[in-house]
């Protein structure tokens, strides 16, 4: 469902080019739970940004559900992100001013879902991640694990087919990290959502269906290919 074909990304001007991705090709099939592993500077985040249409590749093609998306306009990219891709960040990125359910409902606002339908939908999604009771709490009143679960609910609210998770457990202690990981696995199975997760943690990577190792902008190992 997600395909990257010969994706290259180079930062800096033509005088001093800094290649970050040197031609990356892989495909993630629907429903897979795939880990992206590599040391910092290997190009993981850049790859995630390109897959999530937050950044454009210098060369190569990106296909989501068979559709070429790498040259979408800014407005089109926003629509595709809203409809088809859920983001989970290491630092949660909840808006502190909004309650848990309002944070979850944010993608619905940009999806032009009528106001009256947003709260029930957000509450239902919070239930799915086990936070139905905490819907009216602000992020500051929630633990790290709870905040990340709110963020997960937010990523899932538009029923996207792909979740891009950039070190989702990176800010959590190992117990909470395990819980969030278990939830991700559960949602992957229950909601049939494809997950591409960046991680440093080899234990977590082992619990995924597939592991892609990135080094210096190239794939050096892919468990699916092995």
């Amino acid at each position: 469902m997600l395909e990257l074909i010969g994706v290259k990304k180079t930062y800096g001007g033509p005088a001093r080019p800094t290649p970050v991705l040197r031609g990356v090709t892989f495909a993630v099939e629907a429903g897979a739970f795939c880990a992206l592993v590599g040391p910092s500077g290997s190009g993981k985040s850049t790859l995630m940004n390109i897959a999530g249409l937050l950044d454009r590749p210098t060369a190569g093609a990106v296909r989501l559900d068979g559709e070429t998306i790498e040259d979408a306009s800014a407005a089109e990219a926003a629509k595709i992100r809203n409809r088809g891709i859920g983001f989970v960040f290491q630092s949660f990125n909840l808006l502190p001013r909004l309650s848990a359910w309002e944070n979850v409902a944010l993608p619905l606002l940009y999806g032009r879902v009528p106001r009256s339908e947003r709260r029930p939908a957000a509450l239902a999604m919070l239930d799915q991640v086990g936070l139905g009771e905490r819907a009216d709490h602000r992020p500051a009143e929630l633990s790290g694990g709870e905040q990340q679960r709110v963020a997960l609910a937010r990523a899932l609210i538009r029923k996207p087919r792909l979740i891009l998770a950039d070190e989702p457990t990176g800010s959590l202690d190992s117990v909470t990290a395990g819980e969030v990981m278990a939830l991700l696995r559960d949602l992957n199975g229950r909601l049939d959502v494809t997950i591409l997760m960046v991680t440093h943690d080899h234990d977590l990577a082992r619990r995924c269906d597939r592991r892609i190792d990135l080094l210096d902008g190239r794939i050096v190992a892919d468990s699916a290919a092995a």
Binding site: D55, E76, A78, R81, N82, R97, L106, Y110, R112, R115
Partner: protein
């Protein structure tokens, strides 16, 4: 796919407004400061427009009271003469001798102590002719005005305020009462109703006692008229008529000063225009400064909320959505400033009206104009921060601390 994407409507205004106010409230201290400039700007513009409106109405009132076709000729002492005087006959013959004159009345204006029974007061004293009501709108509330047959008699007509000041408890001043002036006893034949006193009147008739001009020789020295009131034909050339009349009335005792209602009104209008220009300038500068304040606050907001902007972009906010968000914030901020400014401006206009003794009137078109202009300024100055927000790269924004 792209066709259906383009068909997506933009966010509703109510939705954007609710968001904007929540965001502004979250940074309320800074919002309040940005509001201040807009507030002062709107207040001075609203005050200017309202005061201008009231001044215009007051000027109209003057026109209606005295008529714009009125001339006053004052005799000022010339050379060694003890007092400048005019010739009564020449004045009274003016309607016959000058084609532009409809009516003319001579008068002597002075002030003195007037007594009635135990009461006494320092009042204006004017010796007038029976045709004065043809020139100034006078209303007799009791009795009658001075008539031609009174010419040499000891009769008086008393102004509204003057009558009150000369009344004692149980002894109101009414037609038939006697008033004492310079050792003579005058019989009151009429009391005037209250009337507005304007800068165009030769004296405050409310606080005056009027006596026949022919009897003036008893108490005035010289008894000759010092002022002539002249009513011109509406189509007359006021300036030319003024020159002709002062030439006709010229005599060695006096330097003549010609005052036309039109000149006075023009003078007041010029003064009003100057005030308006000053206030407009103050308002415009304040709005400019306020606009820059709004821009500053919005720019700071964009920088501080880079992460939020990046997040919203990742969640599917289009560049247009982000622009709208900041534009609505800037517009709402300025609009609220404009509303408070409107209230302050009306307050200032009210105080001004009280101080000037005008009736407080508000032009309805000012009400939407103040906050409207303010919101416009907010949107105009919010444009740059909004575009800046929409151009932020989501990844840069998300990476920001």
């Amino acid at each position: 796919m792209s066709a259906s994407l383009r068909a997506t409507p933009s966010l509703s205004l109510a939705e954007s407004l609710a968001e904007a106010f929540a965001n502004l409230y979250a940074q309320r201290e800074r919002s309040a400061l940005a509001l201040l400039g807009i507030l002062i700007g709107t207040a001075s513009i609203v005050a200017m427009l309202t005061i201008g409106h009231m001044a215009g109405l007051e000027t109209l009132k003057l026109f209606r009271h005295l008529g714009a076709d009125m001339l006053q000729i004052h005799a000022m002492p010339a050379g060694d003469a003890p007092a400048g005087v005019l010739d009564r006959d020449l004045i009274e013959r003016l309607p016959a001798t000058d084609f532009a004159v409809l009516a003319a009345a001579p008068l002597v204006v002075d002030h003195d102590t007037v007594s009635a029974g135990t009461a006494s007061a320092d009042l204006g004293v004017a010796a007038v002719t029976a045709n004065l009501p043809r020139l100034i709108s006078l209303r007799v509330s009791q009795g009658r005005f001075i008539a031609p047959i009174d010419d040499d008699n000891l009769v008086a007509v008393v102004g509204d305020q003057a009558a009150q000041r000369l009344s004692a408890p149980g002894a109101p001043l009414i037609p038939g009462s006697k008033v004492g002036l310079k050792g003579y006893e005058f019989t009151v034949v009429g009391v005037l109703g209250s009337m507005p006193y304007t800068a165009l009147d030769p004296m405050d008739i409310n606080n005056a006692v009027l006596i026949p001009l022919a009897g003036a020789r008893r108490i005035f020295n010289p008894p000759n008229p010092t002022t002539a009131l002249v009513h011109l034909r509406p189509e007359a050339n006021v300036k030319a008529a003024g020159q002709r009349i002062s030439a006709a009335l010229a005599n060695p005792t006096a330097t003549l000063q010609v005052v036309s209602a039109r000149d006075l009104i023009r003078g007041m209008s010029a003064q009003k225009a100057l005030h308006s220009q000053l206030l407009t300038a103050v308002g415009a500068i304040s709005l400019l400064v306020g606009g820059i304040g709004v821009m500053n606050v919005m720019l700071m907001g964009v920088m501080e909320r880079r992460r939020e902007i990046g997040l919203r972009a990742a969640m599917g906010a289009t560049p247009g959505d982000l622009q709208l968000m900041f534009l609505v914030e800037a517009g709402s901020l300025a609009f609220v400033g404009g509303l408070i400014g409107l209230a302050c401006g009306l307050g200032a206009a009210f105080v001004t009206a009280r101080a000037a003794g005008w009736s407080f009137r508000v032009a309805l078109w000012v009400l939407p104009l103040g906050p409207g202009v303010a919101a416009l300024v907010g949107v105009a100055f919010g444009l740059y921060p909004a575009v800046k927000a929409s151009r932020l790269s989501p990844i840069e924004a998300l990476r920001a601390e």
